[in-house]
Symmetry: C2
Subunit: 105 residues, 2 copies
């Protein structure tokens, strides 16, 4: 991984071995964050930060994305200037089988 | 149900149809409450309020039991003077399949 890959625009993501249930539940207890996860599940594709249907400001949304990313629920990456969000479904299912299914309508 | 059954020592419990994911996650995000659920899962039996291994005062424990009961996670009943706690496993599995399994070690 390049210097810029580590320190620049690619944000840090925990490995599956670092997943912490307490941190994951603290992420999922917030209805806006759970809505972001549900929209990723429903769409089946990665979604740009600006394209979610959530009733919060851009800066608040950024906070919610950070909490989800730091808990391991989403992976963020750039396509040009767009920050994309991917559900880490396989990683979550490996660490806590059934959790995503249980909490998404 | 008798008057005393409704108003007296038998506390109120929500029906499965009343279960609310937000309320359930707010109950489960607390590590002490999650420990109570885990101990019920591990034991496979109902447990008296005083017999849980939790690092809180009796009055704090009572609060945690109330939150779990109101969310539908446990059923409480009396045997003599002892308040017993039963995991509502079947009810939770019906409402949110896999949730209990996912959040208990």
């Amino acid at each position: 991984m390049s210097y810029y890959g580590r320190m620049g625009r690619t944000p840090a993501h925990p490995d599956v071995a670092q997943f912490d249930l307490q941190q994951i539940l603290e992420a999922l207890v917030d209805p806006v964050r759970r809505s972001i996860v549900s929209q990723l599940v429903a769409s089946g594709t990665d979604i740009k930060c600006g394209d979610f249907d959530i009733p919060v400001s851009k800066s608040t949304a950024t906070h919610h994305f950070n909490v989800l990313r730091e808990a391991g629920l989403i992976r963020q990456y750039y396509v040009g200037t767009a920050r994309m969000n991917a559900l880490r479904r396989d990683d979550m299912d490996a660490a806590f089988p059934g959790l995503i299914t249980a909490i998404t309508p």
